[in-house]
Symmetry: C2
Subunit: 369 residues, 2 copies
Amino acid sequence: MRRVGIVSAGQTKFTKDDSSIESLLVSSVKPLFDESKDLSQKDIDVVLTSTNSNQKYLANIVSELSGISPRIAHSVESLCNSGTNCIVSAFSYIASGLADVALVVGAEKTDSPGLVLDWDVSRGQYKHPIYWSSLFTSSHMRKYGTTLEDLAYVSAKNHVNGRANPFSYFDRSYSFEDVMASKKLTDNVRLLDCSMPCNGSASILLASEDVANKFKEKPVWITGIGQKSISAGFTKNSDLSSMQSTSIAASDAFSMARCSPREIDVAEVHDAFSICEIMALEDLGLAERGRGAKIVRDLYETGSRKVNPRGGLIGTGHPLGATGIAQTIEAYRQICGESGKRQIDGARTALVHNMSAAATSSTVMVLRS
Amino acid sequence: MRRVGIVSAGQTKFTKDDSSIESLLVSSVKPLFDESKDLSQKDIDVVLTSTNSNQKYLANIVSELSGISPRIAHSVESLCNSGTNCIVSAFSYIASGLADVALVVGAEKTDSPGLVLDWDVSRGQYKHPIYWSSLFTSSHMRKYGTTLEDLAYVSAKNHVNGRANPFSYFDRSYSFEDVMASKKLTDNVRLLDCSMPCNGSASILLASEDVANKFKEKPVWITGIGQKSISAGFTKNSDLSSMQSTSIAASDAFSMARCSPREIDVAEVHDAFSICEIMALEDLGLAERGRGAKIVRDLYETGSRKVNPRGGLIGTGHPLGATGIAQTIEAYRQICGESGKRQIDGARTALVHNMSAAATSSTVMVLRS
């Protein structure tokens, strides 16, 4: 398998403006070219778009609008982890030798048709993701004694981190007290426990080892990949206090990367709701079972940015098809030492966790310098 | 790069019934399992769905409905060549070593949102594919003297071939005279020059060389792949009498397969409209420039099934996301000697050509025994 590196990235500020999906996609490709002065449109073999938009042929459209004439071009959709599915697909084109340079572009609009999975009628009128997150929360509370305060630390921490991210949707921060006082949507999920759908776009460039140095002096290597789909409906989960697809994906990613959770310097974790970050830390092996909330509180109190330095989904907004790419960009920037005020000193090994639909599927990637 | 073989396939009859997209997808997976007795759900690492449907998370839904819990699962969309984009993506997962066994499932409904590319406003009210096919036809007629009779031979030949295909949409055949007499939609495109949107589903199973023999005694190998996207709007084509994306994809596929057009025993060619088959034969190197129509007429008069033995898109119907997969299945069956009444004696090397949106993008694959 050929080594695959990340060599450039671009991103837009997350907003609620009324840009078209095509404009959103193109607007994160331009800064990527600005960053890589030696990159020409002719270098790009593959263009993959990541979105839940109903618009068709978007990979070809963004290619034409960006002056690229790739060999391989198509759209990838898998709800909230479309972005990392797209990155892994681009990885495989390069790792196999079918391509050398792949551009992955993700974007979403606020009113994305991927926000609710209509197919899952097992939940009747309770289709909105708020309801599964509420069940996850109840289950974790019952098993481990997790509290509403524990959840508020996740959101407050990620809002603090998001304030140092110029691409964040929010122009203000929300405190622990704000979260505690925010409107209850269910018994145990408050408005500020939820990530916010928004507009946004993120692009990343992958290259084979042979050519990566042409675009970046020190590429960041994708050394571990794990993916797992358990089902499409969350009722197949036997235990709602953990996310089986995340555990399996993490185990595979660490095994491929030949590293352990202890070596992770920085983690981008899919905090669609507060409870998800606590559960993910446990499922990824970054916290012992039942200790996820404690870890989050320690991070909050010490001001550590180790988990979700960019602000996560809660602190920056969640444009579905762009999220997994924006997470991966943060991991890349941290390893490159390019994260500015968010920089974690000496970050060498990063983890990205991206999931869909009540964790019925997950992607985990390990990135290293 | 690891070798990748085709080891099983399944298909539904093309119809106009009102099945849901989920039912359609699942209905071609079942016969694939029936064919491969040694295949278990647990063997499958990757499930990719190919469709233009607006329904989300279909790869996970079809996995759950089929009892599969894959590592990698997502949907792929690229209008009419979604199917071969999906197959090439599955190929790359296996060729890279990320996976061993991949299921590719395509389906479409008659009223697919992929039938017309709304984005291409360069054509004003003339967005329907009939209009670009009419411009292609005019251009080819001007340059090479192609006639309405030449076009009618394409359709008549493919309707003859389609009669021997149990999965065809049509329950009757249309003769040369029927095509000549059919309703004119433009000056030079008649109703029977067009492929017909319909419901349908097709599934194919790919495996690495290490495990392929477990499922099929003699797998069929994908030895050549070429893909090219020129643009999204057809006005970027400099010359409408040939399809540049097809020429480039063919050249790359033959180069990778280390073979020449002369070695092709059977070709599945994307005859969305009659003119497309004539132009494709020329762009693929299966006919000299300007000789495509002559080749088609010779095939018709001698009863040869070498080009579009399954009936092509015109003779069997065109369920967009399933088409490229159904084409690849025919190439596989022909090489396996499993094409029944359609069998071409001694077929060892096959070509598949699948394209989208006025040939703004094309895929070409070479398959060998």
